[in-house]
């Protein structure tokens, strides 16, 4: 796979914007609440991009994403708890969380990815519940996680937002390169028709595993950031219900569209927090009534998601780079098929 950055110019601008935003947060020009909101946006998008690789690209209907996020979160939190939150230890913690989530995904994926469609969905959902139960009972092995009472004592590293933002950019670049590379096309072919892909010589098992492990590592990475943003971990934060959140984001943005995932993930956090700000105290309880209504309305008006399968121009390959890629996922196939 050839590594390409879509546009160096844009990347530099984005990097500068991230640095300026972090500086503004540091100098408290932007208050801690907005810092929390934008950091959470980055985390939600990274995690959703992971599910986008698993479900959007390769069509594997996985419903255990929150569990992998939890594995990453607990791992990273345990690492910084013993090693501190200097930049390099924080980096080790994040990598450790992502690696552990990816490793568990590999072990679980070996048997479980043989299942198809909804059976895979329910098996991964079941796995998610098993992981939550293990978190709840984890204090018997690692007392510091405090099991069902929630893990405390996580310290906040400096510049969390910048970390999240840079990792988000990296996550987008990796996903984008994967999407328009030869393995990426193999994944899309599995999504469109697994049998045909197999007949065409695509190593279906291998590519499904790659997508699952990579996607779950994204979740683990997001989990590490989550742990060091919210500083408190409770098993209920990684319950199966939470696995629906990245699923909603990926589908709302448009299955397989990186652009869609980024936009939908950002908008999702903005709507939930926006309702908190807009609704006065007397009707605050309507927050989670309005949200599902928006969700249903959105799905009814645009069942293929915001962006369908299309990408923003900046993420599409230029002519010379990958001539055959965009034709593969046409609107028709993406609309008509289900993993």
């Amino acid at each position: 796979m050839k590594w390409k950055v879509p546009s160096w110019g844009l990347l530099v601008i984005l990097l500068a914007a991230g640095a300026v935003l972090q500086l503004a947060i540091h100098l408290e020009v932007i208050n801690a609440y907005w810092a929390l909101v934008v950091t959470y946006m980055c985390i939600a998008v990274i995690s959703s991009l992971g599910l986008g690789i698993i479900y959007g690209f390769s069509g594997q209907f996985a419903l255990g994403h929150a569990a992998f996020m939890g594995l990453g979160a607990y791992t990273a939190a345990l690492i910084t708890r013993y090693m501190g939150v200097a930049p390099w230890t924080f980096a080790i913690a994040l990598v450790g969380g992502a690696l552990l989530a990816g490793g568990v995904a590999w072990l679980v994926g070996l048997p479980i990815l043989r299942l198809r469609s909804d059976y895979l969905g329910i098996a991964t959902l079941g796995f998610g519940i098993i992981v939550r139960v293990l978190f709840e009972n984890s204090d018997k092995v690692i007392p510091v996680t405090a099991g069902a009472r929630g893990m405390t004592g996580i310290e906040q590293p400096d510049f969390v937002f910048l970390w999240a933002f840079l990792l988000l950019l990296g996550a987008i670049i990796v996903a984008r390169n994967l999407r328009f590379s030869s393995p990426g096309r193999a994944l899309l072919s599995i999504r469109e028709d697994e049998t045909a892909a197999n007949l065409m010589g695509v190593d279906v098992v291998r590519y499904k595993t790659i997508a699952f492990v990579l996607g779950c590592s994204y979740a683990g990475l997001a989990g590490g950031l989550y742990a060091h943003t919210f500083l408190f971990l409770h098993p209920s934060n990684f319950d199966f219900i939470k696995s629906f959140d990245p699923l909603l984001i990926v589908v709302l943005g448009g299955l397989g569209s990186i652009t869609g995932t980024v936009v939908a993930g950002t908008a999702w956090v903005a709507v939930l927090e926006g309702l908190r700000l807009v609704l006065p105290g007397e009707v605050l309880e309507w927050r989670y009534v309005i949200y599902p209504v928006l969700l249903i309305a959105m799905m009814l008006t645009r069942p293929q998601g915001l962006f369908g399968t299309s990408e923003a121009a900046i993420l599409r390959p230029r002519e010379a780079e990958a001539p055959a890629a965009p034709a593969l996922a046409t609107e028709v196939t993406a609309d008509g098929t289900h993993p």
Binding site: P111, I112, R114, L115, R116, D118, Y119, G121, I122, A123, L125, G126, F127, I129, I130, R132, V133, L134, E136, N137, A148, D193, E194, T195, A196, F240, I241, F244, L247, L248, V251, L252, L255, E285, W286, Y288, V289, Y291, P292, V293, L295, I296, M299, L300, P303, Q304, A334, D335, G336, T337, H338
Partner: protein, 306 residues
Amino acid sequence: MTYVLQQLLNGIQLGFVYALIALGYTMVYGIVRLINFAHGDVFMVGAFVGYFTLRALARVTLAGASWLNGILLFLLAMLAAMAACTLLNVTIERIAYKPLRNAPRIAALITAIGVSLFLEYFSSLKFVFGPNYITFPSPLPAQTWEVAGLRISAIQVLIAVVATLLLLGLNYIIRYTKIGKAMRATAFDRDAARLMGINVDLTISFTFGLGAALAGAGGVLYVSAYPRVHTFMGIIPGLKAFTAAVMGGIGSLPGAFVGALIMGVAEVTAKSLYSTMADGVAFLILILVLLVKPSGIFGRAEVEKV
């Protein structure tokens, strides 16, 4: 030995209630290939309607003997719940799922999640059901009988009898009535069914209604045994029933029933051995079953059409 059998009985009690929910899941899945995540919340509405009916009838006496009176009132509450759930689910289908019938399948799944969240949060507003934990009044006296060393409670008998009757009724509808035949035909091949003159829309609505009626009855039975009515009570039983349906082979009616019994017994067994790990064990069994039989116990191995 008696202890093991006693626990088995507890598991079967739970399994019967799961079966009533699981059948709704599996019928809807069989006919429109939709995991209706809102089904557990329809079950919750059933429990509430049953509760409100019983409360409204609190001063009514239908029979002289108190236990007979209790059973009659209970049956009335259950019928009210079944009717209300049928109406609710048919409405939900018309508004939220029907427009998406030709859209990607995932779109309807997302609206199902939306409907589920809406039912949970909307019904916990004060002017709907309210957020309180409500204790469901026991329909029968706390009577137990000793049979060959086993302790059998009145509630267990009630659940077994009512659930069995409902399941037999369902079996009759699906096997021997015209609409049942239409349901099977639509599930088998929707387009062919339409060509044969079957009103597919009506059949689908009927399926949603029938599934909801069972869920409504299940809701009232569930809170008779585990007497806490609450707007979020449907999530976990709904999930477990759905899991049971998948384990049995989703789309298969006997599969849903067997899966539900396995689920109930597995959960109770796990709980009696190591109570805080029960959910984990139940789902571990699910995964193991799926690894051995990837389409569930009674599921046909799906050949994907090329």
